[in-house]
Symmetry: C2
Subunit: 221 residues, 2 copies
């Protein structure tokens, strides 16, 4: 298969799974550093997997987001609410139009490199609180990327309607070591185990039947 | 009218005209510095008009474009072709998906500020060489911005099907001094008078019946 794709790679469970899942098509990975609490923890994971698979990784700084955008995700670990991912209080973690900005930048980079497809690992569990993860957004952004580029590039987001558990099952079949991915919105050395993304991560790994070797701060035994 | 809009303001003829034309709705202007030859010349004009009208101006650096994108617009004055704007050789000046990146960033900024609309001054003359100026792109990007934001923000691009001459006529009716706007792709202190954007600028001002007080380098008398 032709390697004609760029993947937006955070270093979290979903994008790392897609990296392994679609490696035959991936020519370039891009990580965005926008000032979130967990950006650099995720980046370490992105670097590790790209090195392992021999994929070039670009690290793009979007400093304006930390400077001008409002989101608890950009305001330190104390600002992150505990609880389930679907809860209303998780709305404070939304970074306005974050996926729009990352996808537009990725599309420009892809066209500059002669690539044809931008891959994003948004998934079904994101829909309830993140408008820029919904099927409607993905379809419209795909149309915008196609219309706005000479070579009619496309957006490929095959996990849009999968649950995180279904993604973890794909990862299990690919023997991905999820202890080398990072999820916690608080951004500490170890996963807190209590924030929305930690809850979601634990549940997905358990439901997929994966032994979770992640170190969580709230487990003391 | 409620001031609920953000305008993408380069400091060129089109966006400065829209700034005056739609001032009743504009709460914030954003200038993007992405490493083009003429960025800082345009920025000076953007600052001047925002100061005059009392509009807040954010200056956003997109350093990754200069670093990773390929375009003669990012490679110094010598790389800019002379000739008409519609010519095939002007294609080298395309910065891949530039408007997509600027609009996505503007949408995130607008939502962070509680604004509802993003304004862009693309126009009909841009269509032939810039895919991210076409009505198809604008419609798709509008849909993406709406779907991807909580408050369903919108994109407003009322000059999409106007010629530059028609825009200049709007400016004439608003008494805009176009000598305080900047167009030249070469980015010199004075307009070169020969590149595609200089040709287009001269023609539009002449056809609108505006006395062109721009200093062009190729006029020696």
């Amino acid at each position: 298969m032709e390697k004609d794709s760029l993947i937006v790679l955070s270093g979290g469970m979903d994008s790392v799974t897609m990296l392994y899942d679609k490696i035959d098509r991936i020519a370039l990975a891009v990580n965005f550093i926008y000032g979130s609490n967990h950006n650099l923890r995720e980046l370490e994971c992105a670097r590790l997997h790209c090195k392992k698979l021999g994929v070039e990784l670009l690290e793009i700084h979007l400093d304006f987001m930390g400077e001008y955008f409002h989101s608890s995700l950009l305001e330190g670990a104390e600002a992150i609410p505990d609880g389930n991912y679907e809860d209303e209080n998780m709305r404070s973690t939304v970074v306005p139009f974050r996926n729009g900005i990352m996808l537009a930048t990725a599309a420009g980079l892809a066209e500059s490199r002669g690539l044809r497809t931008v891959m994003l690992a948004n998934h079904g569990g994101d829909h309830t609180i993140y408008p820029d993860c919904t099927p409607e957004f993905i379809a419209a952004m795909d149309a915008a990327i196609s219309a706005g580029t000479y070579e009619n590039l496309s957006l490929y987001a095959p996990y849009t309607n999968l649950t995180k558990t279904e993604i973890a099952k794909i990862g299990k079949s690919l023997n991905i070591d999820y202890s080398t991915t990072y999820s916690c919105y608080k951004g500490g050395k170890y996963h807190c185990g209590q924030c929305g993304t930690c809850c979601e991560r634990r549940e997905a790994l358990a439901q997929a039947g994966i032994t979770d070797t992640t170190i969580y701060e709230d487990i003391t035994d």
